[in-house]
Symmetry: C2
Subunit: 325 residues, 2 copies
Amino acid sequence: MEDVADVAGVSRGTVSRVLNGGHYVSPDALAAVQRAIRKTGYVVNQHARSLVTQRSDSVAFILSDPQDRLFEDPNFAILLKGCTQALAERGITLVLTIAGTLEDRKRVGRWVTAGHVDGVLLVSEHAGSPLIDELRSRGLPIVAAGRPIGYERDISYVAADDRDGARQMVTYLRSRGHQRIGIITGPIDTPGGVDRLAGYHDVLGDGDPRLVATGDYTEDSGARAMDELLLRAPDLDAVFVCSDLMARGAITALRRAGKRIPEDVAVGGFDDSKVAVSAPPLLTTIRQDFVRVSTEMVRLLHDGITSGDRAAVILPTELVVRDSA
Amino acid sequence: MEDVADVAGVSRGTVSRVLNGGHYVSPDALAAVQRAIRKTGYVVNQHARSLVTQRSDSVAFILSDPQDRLFEDPNFAILLKGCTQALAERGITLVLTIAGTLEDRKRVGRWVTAGHVDGVLLVSEHAGSPLIDELRSRGLPIVAAGRPIGYERDISYVAADDRDGARQMVTYLRSRGHQRIGIITGPIDTPGGVDRLAGYHDVLGDGDPRLVATGDYTEDSGARAMDELLLRAPDLDAVFVCSDLMARGAITALRRAGKRIPEDVAVGGFDDSKVAVSAPPLLTTIRQDFVRVSTEMVRLLHDGITSGDRAAVILPTELVVRDSA
DNA sequence: CTGGATTCTGGGAGCGCTCACAGTCTCTGG
DNA sequence: CCAGAGACTGTGAGCGCTCCCAGAATCCAG
């Protein structure tokens, strides 16, 4: 930097000003510095800058999922890519951390609170992680993907309107004349698990508990839950499966049981992910826009870093009718 | 840090020594410092450390793929996760960068060469990127996933033995009595594209050019290439498709054309990825171990950072026989 | 008892940057 | 013509750490 200043015939201070927006710099000095930077091939030392500004211009993307969902679930990939790009536009770097095990989570907690990042994007399935408390106590801005159960007032989050989406699907199934509508929920400690089930009950009342089964968002679990449902309620004529991937599993199970879709049993999914249209029957499902989720998350985190604000954003969901219901 | 030194009754120098391995520190001082660190809740400032050591203890994972393959191809996810974990074990942070467009690549080039990272993991489909030259000129250690065409002597890389894998598959198909064996290759500017085709020719000689078609590793392109092959060589009785995903597309196309698999046309894939067993028929394919690839990549990069060594690792591939051939 | 390793410790210098402050110069209105 | 506001510039201090060097303490062999 001293070199640049010498070449441009100005002082370090002026070079620094040019680097940081160029306010209070004369046009001559500006041009001279820019020329000198090109000539010397100078690049700022981010560490030196961070040392004094106390900011790192990077954020952590923490995937604290106990399973290897990154592979199974395309939503994660979309979220990850969307965040990377939205951050890049703001000149912020995305640091990916995977914290599956409890030990991982401790390590990540230490790392994050050591001031490596200015904020955290939390993509975790399960609630009640001690991570949130630790991050909060350090005053680190956090934005979660999905409603963080038990922390709604404490940290920012972006979520799709799960409950309303579920209502739309169940209402639609009923409008098509289905009487015995089952549901395969996600884990009951996830917002997608409780909220979609709540939407189901909003429309159908308490209903028959034999029509409710639980999966873990994997394809296999969808098949297993469907088998269970078929056993407990052989007369069911429709099922709302709370993720497309599980719906695919459920369809496999239904076919094994000799059921035609949608003639014998109608199937509704959730997500409108790639798997919804990867094979016949094309899934009738609820769309949630994960690209939008990621841009909103980044926006919220940026706000949090610059102003300390907290906010929650609920994005609308939309029924997409295809072949399976 | 000064606080810790005061509490422990020692100097900054001693605290620093404890932090960096504890050599030349008396047991008493060591214990006192460790106690003081716990008491004060001290965490090192990574930026200050990096400023003096000139190391960042982080590496970039550069995904410079023009398409959105991260979604289509599960291999990327496995690679990404494997690298993250292998690095975490070494206390190194993974910074994810996506450089799809040319402009992205420039931005990433600037960023990486600005000293943000100690090394680079390059996961790029296409060769001849100016990125490699730029990184090399800065002396940054690089490890590529897959053979970096034209840079084999310049940078480290880890690759599966594509050519031998292809030979295994084609040999197997021929041993099963197939006479007219087609191939759907990857893009011809990728190692997987040229090497697997070379393996095919190793076994079959020059053969009939009408039996060769090219895809781009997406499912759709597999279907299109199959249609083309069927048109040019309606008598073909087997096809080696150079990725499982494309093989799925090819199977769709074959079925549309009324062909039974494997009775009318046998299909061989490559990768042994999740899609190989996602639906019937289960794919006969070539296994390459991406977890192993990622750990080897990290090992090589670590070597490169600490010692400046370069190396190439070729991992064996293995035929997996299932239903499709 | 002494000289030279060997182990351990403290403190100064400096990594490359930003920020606050003091100072200079120019331009305005009274 | 002058005071004061505004635009611009240079300089010193300091961010929190590691590294180096000098010196103190300890130990062992001669």
